[in-house]
Symmetry: D2
Subunit: 320 residues, 4 copies
Amino acid sequence: MIKKIGVLTSGGDSPGMNAAIRATVRTAYTDEIAVVGIRRGYSGLLDEEFIDMDYSSVGGIMEKGGTVLRSSRCEEFRTEEGRTKAADLLRSNGIDALVVIGGEGSLNGAKLLMDENGIPVIGLPGTIDNDIAMTDMCIGVDTCLNTCVETIQKLKDTASSHERAFVVEVMGRNSGYVALASGMAVGAEAIIVPELPVDYEAIAEKIWNERKRGKINCIIVVAEGAASAYTVARHVEHRIGYETRITILGHIQRGGSPTAFDRVLASRMGYASVKALEEGKAGMMMSLNGGKIKGIPLEEVLSHKKELDMELMEMAKILS
Amino acid sequence: MIKKIGVLTSGGDSPGMNAAIRATVRTAYTDEIAVVGIRRGYSGLLDEEFIDMDYSSVGGIMEKGGTVLRSSRCEEFRTEEGRTKAADLLRSNGIDALVVIGGEGSLNGAKLLMDENGIPVIGLPGTIDNDIAMTDMCIGVDTCLNTCVETIQKLKDTASSHERAFVVEVMGRNSGYVALASGMAVGAEAIIVPELPVDYEAIAEKIWNERKRGKINCIIVVAEGAASAYTVARHVEHRIGYETRITILGHIQRGGSPTAFDRVLASRMGYASVKALEEGKAGMMMSLNGGKIKGIPLEEVLSHKKELDMELMEMAKILS
Amino acid sequence: MIKKIGVLTSGGDSPGMNAAIRATVRTAYTDEIAVVGIRRGYSGLLDEEFIDMDYSSVGGIMEKGGTVLRSSRCEEFRTEEGRTKAADLLRSNGIDALVVIGGEGSLNGAKLLMDENGIPVIGLPGTIDNDIAMTDMCIGVDTCLNTCVETIQKLKDTASSHERAFVVEVMGRNSGYVALASGMAVGAEAIIVPELPVDYEAIAEKIWNERKRGKINCIIVVAEGAASAYTVARHVEHRIGYETRITILGHIQRGGSPTAFDRVLASRMGYASVKALEEGKAGMMMSLNGGKIKGIPLEEVLSHKKELDMELMEMAKILS
Amino acid sequence: MIKKIGVLTSGGDSPGMNAAIRATVRTAYTDEIAVVGIRRGYSGLLDEEFIDMDYSSVGGIMEKGGTVLRSSRCEEFRTEEGRTKAADLLRSNGIDALVVIGGEGSLNGAKLLMDENGIPVIGLPGTIDNDIAMTDMCIGVDTCLNTCVETIQKLKDTASSHERAFVVEVMGRNSGYVALASGMAVGAEAIIVPELPVDYEAIAEKIWNERKRGKINCIIVVAEGAASAYTVARHVEHRIGYETRITILGHIQRGGSPTAFDRVLASRMGYASVKALEEGKAGMMMSLNGGKIKGIPLEEVLSHKKELDMELMEMAKILS
């Protein structure tokens, strides 16, 4: 039986992580399970940066961006020795199970910790990239998309005033989800994703046609992993003589008070993670699946690659 | 074969309706189908307020709240004679099919128009109440929730400054969805919905406990259809002596530039409605179903009642 | 010489009060003057709710709405006995001077405390009503105006969709400033302020003319102290048959993260209050005066009434 | 007597320009003066891109970022021949006077047009840099500051999560105003402006001290004209071993719906420009001067340099 749970956030932070921490702590509190907050992800676990958390310690955090437990990337935990040390520290501190909120690498670390050392773990998908398989959405994506949309909308104002094109680089090293969804939401003339080769010819033709129809601005959204914003801009300027500017949204996509969607999603996932551990389940990621929260074996999650919805890509072209 | 489509918005407006109009028009345009925008819903249909729409007529509308086609409620269309007249006008104007964006009443009108007069119709669920069955979300709900959250967050500031309770009335005549989701997202101490009886005793006890734990504010979210905000406030003041204020969010929940989610959802639904008509389908509502857009027979949609997720209600109590 | 300063917030809270507290504390800290935070305004002063504040105790508060010191209205302090007791408590706690952030009533209390008991006080104008004389702006007004504008803009969306009029009640018991400035900023068709009699005839004519010009929405902004929103709505409906809705913005105008303007203004005023006390000045309100912060004797401030700019009222009529 | 006024926006766009256009048009309309909108600044003037504007043509534009008249920079107008041609075109189109909304370069062009060719001009200061002398604020600055603050606040979230420093580059080629005001408003640990030499030693010491006090994030705001963000970051990383990231806010600072302040300011200036022309005044810039709008001779404006408030710089250091 679970008496004490550890919770940590790991990897790049994402808005909603605090809501997940809050839900984990308060659900456990209600069920009389102790919670230990572990600072700075796996790094803090290895350094025993533990703080006891109760009902009040998570008051007023849901609305905050980032993660009050802080986060980091940790080299030592990538080694088997590191993970064994971590398991020993969890045991010697009486921590029976671990809830890990983070991206694919962090979930993989959690899985190895369990496989190698028998520590029950539950993973929550927290990443603004939406690049984790087997869940409709990750914690933080919705907030990130709204930040992109609000920001690009501002660029459209000045783009129209000066009849310019803007190339906007958004998050997404391996995944074009943020580029695709935010590009659709602002009616971008072109969306460039890592999953597909860039066809500058087609992009130029498309923009050219829009211009002939009278459009006085042009937005191209490019995922950071797909192409350099500078390269894209050069192509646009060169091929169609459009005065082009570049904006790299960067880390502002990570911050901000989470949206309603992310608060609710993260709350549900945090709640479900404690309930799963209480039922003796482990080695799972909590996943949003058609409106329901389900536990999916981490093995399954990590052996799949999140696919980009190619029909949406087609649709985006038609609608812009 | 479909050569000309009519599109209208009906009933209470909701953010994202413009994105749905845009997607309908541009998808049809790409497939060489003409689109006629019908102003003021069924009212405008009966008055022949028709405007030809092409690619450019929907430029720059996606980001706007409300509906550029305007909306209304129409008594005449509730009669069989009204609907027959409408069908005649559609036919005499060469309009082969109708896309209707609106709430349950509007979809019901569309269904009757088809059943009685054979006009192919597709419905899109557009209402901030999220009270339409068989779809995970309706167009506008996500924006409405974020407006509620931003607004209630402001009330929390002043509630804390003055150590007050606030009773906030949100949309939802028959459905507690907006109250539940926004209440969860702001960590409301109590959420009152039409689907459940109000237990003032339990609410008072809960608030009392929070106060003893040191909370210096208290938010109670009540759906307009569940109880009067004034009654709720009186109970809270009377039972626990908390200085209480009331805020009725009202129509600000209807407006605002749509969120990324609503823009993408509405775009997908508008796109799907044209594709469905092209494939000879009709009498359906486009529905969000586990991340996919599916057509569901209007008959099925309208014979079901949207249920409130009772597990979420329980969860909300534990987390706040 | 001043060794210890007390700071409190009093009356209705306003966004930016935290920035003023922060600036007061940090300026004093740098100059090696101790600061005592007094909770709940004059009430907490009489109850000796004192907390020592240093550099770190005001970290991260600038961005928050409301006031971390909380606020209240206090009957006892309105009596001479109450103020004498307060002065005694300040002296017995070694507090040499008091910085009071609040509205006219609170500043008046501060003045009396000084006049009667010789406690050096500095007042900062903190109120969203902008009804304090001798200062261009009060702390919180700018944030309040932006909240009004964002909210009314949402109403315009739905007003246009349904071709309706909206009567929006904003703050301002004795002062029409918020109504006038926010009304101008949203292009309201009519602005009703306490400083002028309401001319329903003229309003109706104006709205009627706008409608004939093709406007499909109508916004009337009314200060709470000028007329009941319901009365205004009845007049509009009755005289010109416009379907009219009412929205009372209420307490959401008090909250929200302060704007850049309010943060800078409050910071400058908090800073100036400490510098003034160090220079031996007291009995003054810090005022924004043509871009400069100046100390104005409280006597002068309190013997003047803030006038509404009648030229702006005329302008608003011409521009809408 | 003035019968027809031309209005144009020139140089970099700024939020609020539309409110200024609207006010110019509607004030003239009320006084029965015709208005010609000139597209694309001086460029469009030389190309005779004229559009007649009346009351309705400026409906719904106040809330929009950018400028509906569009803008550009124009080489030809920098020559005397260009300006003479422009004057001839104005005369041959019956345009008696010109209202120019733009930055210093644009106002200078306006002044030369008047000096050389006798065309009455009024300038309105529209630039987000706030680098025009003799006016407290320029149109667009307040919106720009709020965009900076909201954006940097998001960076603070992720900075705290990862205990990082961020160097944020904001607008300001010759002026540190935006860096100073936004830096103060977010509590930046260092603010780097073009008006002062960069003292990396002092910055490093300051940050080091903050860290020892327990601060887990660090924000450095740098005006684009003061130093390269990369250079600053290298210094911070090198001197104190802080993991540092860079964000260049870029063009998003230009866009966005204008704040209440910018809408009111721009409206007042637009109104005043028409009134001034009606009174036979010209060769002036409308200026915000201690809460009042005043006309200042362009000669005086252009012969002064906007000074940075050095006391504010000192204050910013003390408060952060």
